[in-house]
């Protein structure tokens, strides 16, 4: 059964040269527990599709259903709650808050829950242990390497136990050894039941995913 259903999604922008069609009539079903790679050349629309799938970027037309919820029919604050409950993001440049330690960055999604501070701390520490950074939990982002920051970003994405992880070029700025470690981590999370959708342009990453879809000029290729 599909966890995510994308129906006739189109996204247009007003650019300097007039209206730009970033996504054209996208139809896509993603099953629960899939590890999907969204592939395509630079500017093809894959990151735009990821932001639409993640509830961050409403489409110009079409519908997105996740767990039978019409995502963009939700009111803005309900949409924020939806992202909090269903979705974890791993951004391209990690996007950690620079003044918070690794542990505090991971605790961020828990800060708006009613969980007591100690429970939050324990949950964040457990997840950091899981991504292999338990010993560096009190370091600030600028005291961590790129790969370590990426792991903190993953820990932050999964701490709230979401249904889906959206990752945008997570291996883009990593050396090959660190990239493999990260993909192994994703694979292990996926094997634990987490649905992962990863944007990548690296063909080598395909051996880790369960399915890949290609997008070119805003059109999904089968």
């Amino acid at each position: 059964m599909s966890l995510i259903k994308v129906h006739e999604v189109t996204k247009t922008y007003k650019g300097g040269d007039g209206v730009v069609e970033a996504l054209k009539n996208i139809n896509l079903d993603i099953a629960e527990g899939e590890f999907l790679a969204l592939m395509g050349p630079s500017g093809s629309g894959k990151s735009t599709l990821l932001s639409v799938l993640g509830g961050l970027n409403p489409p110009t037309s079409g519908k997105l259903m996740i767990d039978d919820i019409d995502v963009y029919a939700l009111a803005p604050e309900q949409l924020a709650d939806f992202r909090h409950e269903y979705v974890g993001f791993v951004f391209q440049q990690y996007q950690l808050i620079p003044y918070l330690t690794a542990l505090e960055n991971v605790m961020l999604p828990l800060a708006i829950t009613s969980r007591p501070g100690k429970v939050q701390r324990d949950m964040a520490q457990t997840v950091l242990d899981k991504v292999g950074l338990g010993a560096k939990s009190l370091r600030l982002p600028n005291q961590l390497s790129g790969g370590e920051q990426n792991r903190v970003a993953i820990a932050r994405a999964i701490v709230n136990e979401p249904a889906i992880i959206f990752a945008d070029e997570p291996t883009g700025s990593l050396d090959s050894k660190t990239a493999v470690e990260l993909l192994e981590l994703f694979q292990s999370l996926n094997q634990g039941g987490l649905t992962i959708i990863m944007v990548t342009h690296n063909q080598e990453n395909l051996e880790w995913v369960s399915r890949a879809v290609y997008i070119r000029d805003g059109v999904l290729e089968s």
Binding site: S47, L56, P76, A80, I97, E104, P109, L110, A111
Partner: protein, 387 residues
């Protein structure tokens, strides 16, 4: 972790920006506190000086007829109902007795000297000189009180009788030494009169205890003069107690000008502080666009973002208020009186602390509302840009 922790951590990490915002609040609050307290002291000082600068209450016999003083008309004193000295101890029994700084009784008698009709004013010299601080006296040293066999002459009397200090004048067959001559004041009762010891004049005119009127200076910085007037009327039967409105109005006018000045400057400082806080918070929000985008992307609601920004502003505002109070109050207590040359010391006023903190908290919150609202409305995709 709570939203407050996020705000606190941001403040700790961005020390320079936080310090700048606190500094802007400190400068605003300290200036307002300093200005407020020193202006209060200036007001009190001016009021005290004005209160000492002549009488503001006049006690006359209740004759049912108008009697003027300062252009005095005492054509036939014997026909006028007189007051007596027993009133003075009574005056000191009113509720606001501590406000009566000077009580200057007077006996007014006319006499002929060298063929001229001249007004004799029997006075208590000590009280009279205290009341008439603006007198400039030739021949009399500062703080010197004339004795019972000395007199003070008004300038016109001295001129018309050809007298100068240390010379002798005969009044009602008794010789007196001229202790001093008042430099021209422009008022009849000073320039055309001879001031003589009250007890001596009572004896010379065979009217023991008699007085014509009492001038009083009430220090009314803290008390309404009308109340003192009413209290005196109640205690002194057969008298007419009048507050000199012109003196009061001029005093109030001066004091009110100080108030207005202080309010205008405070308002300007208030607006300037608010502007600085708004600009600082606005630039802080702009600097954190990406961070706010991350928080929105992971599910923070608009109110969570507003709460974080307002918590930061509130904490910095309160800290600025506290430090501003300490700085402003400390400077005012140490240097305020010296700076404005006021003789009134400025006390440490702890009660202003609550106002300082509350006001700076409110300014900070109000000034940050717009940047906070704009931050909350940021589109997470736009904030993160890369998507």
């Amino acid at each position: 972790m709570r939203l407050t922790d996020i705000a606190l951590q941001n403040l700790r990490r961005r020390k320079m920006r936080s310090a700048l915002l606190v500094l802007s609040v400190v400068i605003g609050v300290a200036s307002i506190i300093f200005l407020y307290t020193t202006t209060q002291a200036m007001k009190e000082d001016v009021a005290n000086k004005l209160d000492q600068f002549g009488s503001n209450i006049l006690i006359l016999p209740d004759t049912g007829e108008a009697m003027t003083f300062g252009g005095i008309t005492v054509e036939a004193p014997t026909q006028v109902k007189e007051l007596d000295m027993s009133l003075i101890p009574l005056m000191k029994t009113i509720k606001n007795k501590e406000t009566l700084a000077t009580i200057a009784p007077k006996l007014l008698v006319d006499t002929k000297i060298k063929g001229q009709t001249i007004l004799l004013l029997g006075v208590d010299f000590e009280q009279e000189l205290h009341l008439k601080k603006w007198w400039k006296l030739n021949g009399l040293a500062k703080n010197q009180i004339p004795s019972a066999n000395e007199v003070i002459l008004g300038s016109e009397v001295a001129q018309s009788l050809g007298l100068s200090p240390k010379q002798t004048i005969t009044i009602k067959e008794k010789d007196f030494t001229v202790a001093g001559i008042i430099q021209p004041t422009g008022s009849t009762e000073n320039d055309q009169a001879i001031f003589i010891d009250l007890a001596v004049l009572q004896k010379l005119t065979n009217r023991p205890n008699a007085i014509s009127l009492i001038e009083t200076a009430a220090l009314c910085y803290t008390c309404p003069i009308e109340e003192v007037t009413q209290q005196l009327s109640a205690k002194l039967p057969g008298t007419k107690v009048t507050a000199l409105k012109s003196t009061l109005e001029s005093r109030d006018d001066t004091v009110n000008r100080f108030n207005l000045f202080a309010r205008i400057v405070s308002l300007i400082l208030f607006l300037a502080s608010s502007l600085v806080i708004t600009m600082t918070m606005k630039s802080s929000v702009e600097e954190r666009t990406r961070e706010i985008g991350i928080l929105r992307a992971i599910g923070f609601r608009k109110r969570h973002i507003i709460q974080i920004i307002l918590t930061e502003a509130g904490l910095l505002g309160s800290l600025g208020g506290l430090l501003g109070f300490l700085l402003g109050m400390g400077a005012a207590v140490q240097y305020g009186s010296i700076l404005v040359r006021a003789q009134v010391p400025i006390p440490w006023q702890s009660n202003l602390l609550a106002y300082a903190i509350l006001a700076s908290l409110l300014i900070s919150l109000i000034a940050s509302l717009n940047p906070a609202w704009k931050a909350a409305r940021l589109d997470p995709t736009e904030s993160l840009r890369y998507m």
